[in-house]
């Protein structure tokens, strides 16, 4: 009897510890691309039934502020997007105008890609908004992985019904992330690869997003360069600074 209770207690404790470890891992993955400040050079390849398009852009991020400036192709070069909290501004070099766009546009496809502007710049609070459980530990495709299922907490204002995150056990880098709707249907999946040590962190430098409802469509993001915790002046994020 006593032994039984002790065992039960032990089981509970180990469960709690497991949860805590899952939480820590997810937290670390979520923080992989967050830092006090970031300067990154990114190549985005969008392919769908309309053809293929490649964008080159530079991203500056400091706290709540993010600036994205497109450098290629030629006719879009100079376009800049500034996000400060929930406010989004576009600088349009062709029109030489700065336009504030409604916050709702942050949820739409960005530049025809399968990413939203929120995907690019919004800090996600996975550990704050979701409860995390370990749903698989073992080998997949010859690699030891762990899979965590994230279900939104009741009070969290999030769009997903469920997120599944798979990491590589050896170094805790993410390998796959699935986004599901309220009915448990896969909406889109993000595949990570090409892990490189950049600015002192091992990060996946290649991210491929595939929407589940559009066959053949996908958007690839490649980090050509990324620097964490580099000094950026506040002036970088000013509206007059947008037209660069």
């Amino acid at each position: 009897m006593l032994l039984g209770m002790a065992l039960l207690n032990l089981a509970e404790m180990s469960h709690a510890a497991d949860d805590q470890r899952a939480r820590e891992t997810v937290e670390r993955v979520a923080r992989l691309f967050s830092s006090k400040s970031i300067i990154a050079t990114v190549k985005m390849q969008i392919s769908n039934e309309d053809g293929q398009r490649t964008l080159l852009m530079k991203i500056w991020s400091l706290g709540e502020k993010t600036l994205v400036r497109i450098t290629s192709p030629q006719d879009e070069a100079g376009t800049a997007i500034l996000k400060e909290g929930s406010e989004i501004w576009y600088y349009l070099p062709k029109s030489n105008r700065t336009v504030q766009v409604p916050a709702s546009m942050a949820m739409n496809s960005w530049m025809g890609s399968d990413f939203t502007i929120d995907d690019l710049v919004k800090e996600t609070f996975l550990t704050r908004d979701y409860s995390i459980s370990t749903s698989f530990v073992g080998k997949r495709g010859g690699v030891a992985v762990a899979e965590y299922t994230l279900t939104p907490k009741a009070e969290a204002a999030v769009v997903w019904g469920k997120i599944i995150l798979q990491i590589r056990q050896a170094d805790a880098v993410p390998t796959w992330q699935g986004f599901y709707d309220e009915n448990g249907q896969l909406v889109r999946e993000l595949t990570f690869s090409d892990y490189k040590l950049m600015s002192g962190k091992l990060i996946p430098t290649r991210l491929v997003m595939r929407p589940a409802d559009k066959a053949g469509a996908q958007t690839t993001i490649e980090y050509e360069d990324i620097a964490f915790d580099v000094p950026i002046s506040q002036g970088t994020f000013s509206l007059p600074g947008l037209n660069g």
Binding site: D50, R53, E76, T79, V101, M111
Partner: protein
């Protein structure tokens, strides 16, 4: 024999002119009433269809298959390669039933002026073609219509203009997801503001020239989303749409839709209107029938004595009936001619000047999502007019036949004694 009877019938009609005129007045009045109702109801139907189609939509639309109603930017006529727009227009206008056709391009975007912006629907039109199929050009209340000279000019709705605080001459930025996925953007000048009375249009439609919208959306000149068509006779829309579909499909895959398909709520309103017209027509017809029957019955019954006399003089009963019917036909025809003659200026007035519903206020009346305006115009509905004429003539004959038949079956001695 028939000739003699005709002569007799004609003389009978003029023997008691007052009676004849009263009967004729009843029939003619009934006819004018029916003409009036038919004309106004047809006018309402026509006005609804006309106003519903001529504002922005047009009567028939040609799209690439699958474009309507979702409206994907990629689904241009002829697919991604586009099509020879002028050849398509030529093929459409070759049909003698087509009055005019105009190409269009659509897109969604963000219109931004200084610190305010709004989501808008963009419509690219050919400025000198579009007015042949829609009347948006006549809805401009400030500024002017699009001209070929002002390539970067846009027309916006009054509600949109006041919402984001712009006026004629203001510069606006349009931002739209282009066909290649990039962010199309450019600066435009507001050249005119329109007020259509339709909230959705006045709040969100932005009109610009076809070529500048193609440029904004990175669409090649050969790529258009739609051809709008106006016919000489809108009642043929469904048939012409089907014929054009077959004809155009030979060169480029198309889906041709007539207005009942494009505006189902308008089509169901027209059905509803036909139902109401039928009921109204029936009520007015009953009223007319009662009046005509009453006069006819009285007119024949009071002649029982006279008819008895004719039979006493040797006229056979069937001849009496034929005589009365001849009188009735003559009476009906004459009355309908009189009614029609009185009706012509009335119907003309309804069609040209209309009934003023709004009165002095000049308020715009809209019904089932269509601006009707405060004037209710009539419209000639000849099938209804002829049905009314035939119906009334039949009533006259039927209501003459019964008393004639009765009179013919009295014995002359009894008939003579009847008062």
């Amino acid at each position: 024999m028939i000739g003699r009877l005709l002569q007799l019938a004609w003389r009978n009609l003029w023997r008691n002119p007052r009676r004849t005129f009263i009967t004729m007045a009843a029939i003619a009045f009934g006819y004018v009433m029916l003409l009036f109702v038919a004309c106004l109801m047809a006018g309402l139907r026509w006005q609804m269809i006309e106003n519903g189609t001529c504002l922005v939509m047009s009567q028939i639309q040609v799209h690439a298959p699958g474009y309507y109603p979702s409206g994907s930017i990629q689904k241009t006529l002829g697919g991604r390669q586009g099509t020879d727009v002028s050849a398509v227009l030529t093929a459409i206008t070759a049909d003698p039933r087509v009055f005019a056709a105009a190409p269009r391009v659509y897109g969604y975007g963000l219109l931004s002026a200084s610190h305010r912006s709004a989501g808008v629907e963009l419509m690219g039109i050919v400025p000198n073609r579009e007015p042949k199929i829609t009347i948006l050009n006549s809805q401009i209340t400030k500024g002017s219509y699009l001209t070929a000279r002002m390539q970067k000019g846009v027309l916006i709705g009054g509600k949109l203009a006041s919402h984001i605080g712009i006026e004629v001459g203001s510069e606006v930025v349009l931002l739209a997801q282009a066909a290649d996925g990039s962010m199309g953007n450019d600066v435009y000048t507001v050249v005119g503001i329109f007020h259509t009375g339709l909230d959705a249009v006045d709040r969100s439609l932005v009109l610009m020239s076809l070529s500048s919208l193609q440029e904004l959306l990175h669409l090649a000149p050969a790529r258009i989303h739609e051809v709008g068509i106006k016919l000489n006779d809108i009642t043929r829309a469904t048939a012409v749409a089907a014929a054009l579909g077959v004809q155009l499909d030979k060169t480029v895959p198309v889906q041709v839709s007539a207005w009942p398909e494009l505006a189902p709520e308008l089509a169901s309103y027209v059905q509803f209107n036909r139902g109401i017209t039928f009921v109204l027509f029936f009520i007015f017809f009953l009223l007319a029938v009662i009046g005509v029957m009453n006069t006819m019955l009285m007119a024949v019954f009071e002649r029982t004595r006279e008819l008895g006399m004719l039979m006493a003089l040797g006229m056979r009963p069937v001849q009496v009936i034929v005589l009365i019917l001849m009188e009735a036909v003559a009476l009906a025809v004459a009355s309908l001619i009189v009614g029609g003659t009185v009706g012509v200026p009335l119907l003309w007035y309804l069609q040209v000047h209309g009934l003023d519903l709004g009165g002095a206020t000049g308020e715009v009346v809209s019904l089932a999502g269509v601006v009707v305006g405060h004037l209710w115009y009539g419209r000639q509905d000849f099938p209804a007019y002829s049905q009314a004429a035939l119906g009334l003539a039949a009533t006259v004959l039927a209501s003459a036949l019964y008393p004639a038949w009765r009179a013919a079956h009295f014995r002359p001695s009894e008939a003579i004694r009847k008062v």
